[in-house]
């Protein structure tokens, strides 16, 4: 006797029902890293925005919407209309009826092509399309620059193959396994914003960083130059060699006064290279 889908989803979320999870694990033993990409295929069970092709269920969706509306609380009139539509337009082969807790409505899912529709596929107003959560993930990949897009495609193909084995409970498995993927994906936007924040820090250095830089350069922390970005140098920096005074800079003070001047010949020989440089 299979359990109701809502109850099965709740039990799997609590970890009580583990049989199907083990089966899932066996299938993915060869490539365990790619398991997480499949877990967000359906989104949060109770989220009513799953139909939005730009909406990716985050952890907030799981916490806020919970398990959604149980199937036994559907209005009787809605159930009668659905049954009448199915009687008039029976489901084709490979199509199954799936209940959505978020919107409290039934939809119809093709297990082979993974296409979905709100009406019976044979209904004249039926619009068959890809599942909205998948399209939303593709949009998120473009926006956030996910580098595992190709691996996701492989995971999607494997999911289709896996869904052939399961019967009606396939959708519940997808819904229950979406929680971990959402947690991982929720960090992607934060990590992608990391470089931006780093750039901001580089543009404006804090006073602490400037003090560290001054310490590296050997500048006194009490010197205002420690916080400035102007280049540091001596008084003579920027002067041409020719303009430097001829004073003897090798000694200062009384020792300087005690030092004799060089001979005139030495001065002439010292000036000769400068003249040649000037000529060039």
């Amino acid at each position: 006797m299979p359990l109701p889908p809502a109850l099965l989803a709740r039990l799997q979320k609590r970890g009580i029902v583990k049989q199907e999870e083990e089966v899932i694990a066996e299938n993915y033993e060869k490539e365990p890293e790619k398991k997480s990409f499949e877990e967000n295929s359906a989104g949060a069970p109770g989220c009513p925005n799953k139909w939005n092709q730009y909406h990716v269920c985050l952890e907030f969706c799981y916490d806020h919407w919970g398990d959604g509306t149980p199937e036994y609380r559907l209005p009787e009139r809605y159930v009668q209309n659905k049954n009448r539509m199915l009687a008039k337009f029976p489901l084709p082969e490979n199509w199954v009826e799936v209940y959505d807790e978020g919107l409290a409505k039934y939809y119809f899912w093709n297990k082979t092509t993974d296409e979905v529709c709100w009406y019976s596929p044979r209904h004249p107003r039926a619009i068959i399309s890809d599942p909205a959560p998948r399209i939303a993930r593709e949009h998120a990949t473009v926006l956030f620059g996910d580098s595992h897009a190709s691996e996701e495609d492989n995971a999607a193909r494997r999911r289709n193959f896996h869904n052939k084995k399961t019967s009606r409970g396939g959708n519940d498995d997808k819904q229950s396994r979406g929680n971990n993927a959402e947690k991982r994906k929720r960090r992607d936007p934060m990590t992608s914003q990391g470089p931006d924040s780093d750039e901001d820090e580089l543009q404006e250095m804090t006073n602490k960083d400037r003090l560290k830089r001054a310490k590296r350069k050997g500048i006194d922390p009490m010197d205002p130059a420690a916080y400035g970005d102007a280049p540091v140098g001596k008084w003579s920096d920027g002067l041409r060699v020719d303009q430097v005074t001829g004073a003897d800079v090798t000694a200062g003070g009384p020792l300087f006064q005690q030092r004799p001047y060089p001979a005139p010949g030495a001065i002439l020989r010292k000036q000769k290279p400068q003249d040649e440089e000037d000529d060039q």
């Binding site: 001829g246 004073a247 006064q257 004799p260 001979a263 005139p264 002439l268 000036q271």
Partner: protein, 142 residues
Amino acid sequence: MSYMLPHLENGWQVDQAILAEEDRVVVVRFGHDWDPTCMQMDETLFKIAPKVKNFAVVYLVDITKVPDFNKMYELYDPCTAMFFFRNKHIMVDLGTGNNNKINWAVTDGQELIDIIETVYRGARKGRGLVISPKDYSTKYKY
């Protein structure tokens, strides 16, 4: 009386004049002939030149025509006298704090003769700095 003393026209001549003298002190006056301070100094130099010719020779250099030494010797005064012996600059402790040169006009001939004689005796013994017989500091001025 500067026209009665020999003039050096370029740096090479200054170098050669100092190199040529091996037994005498070379007194070089840097300045201009038209400067009043140099006029007084040249008058004194001309007066003592014959008396010290045995141990000193005097040359005049125009710091405008020969600008090679202005920067190194700090020739920024109107009149500057320096002493060389065997291609070596001799310092004199005159009491002014500047031991490298005389940058005022010495009007007393005997004082200048005494200074040159002291430079000659000390330089011949190998000294680079000699003490002037007279103290030219300002402690007698005020």
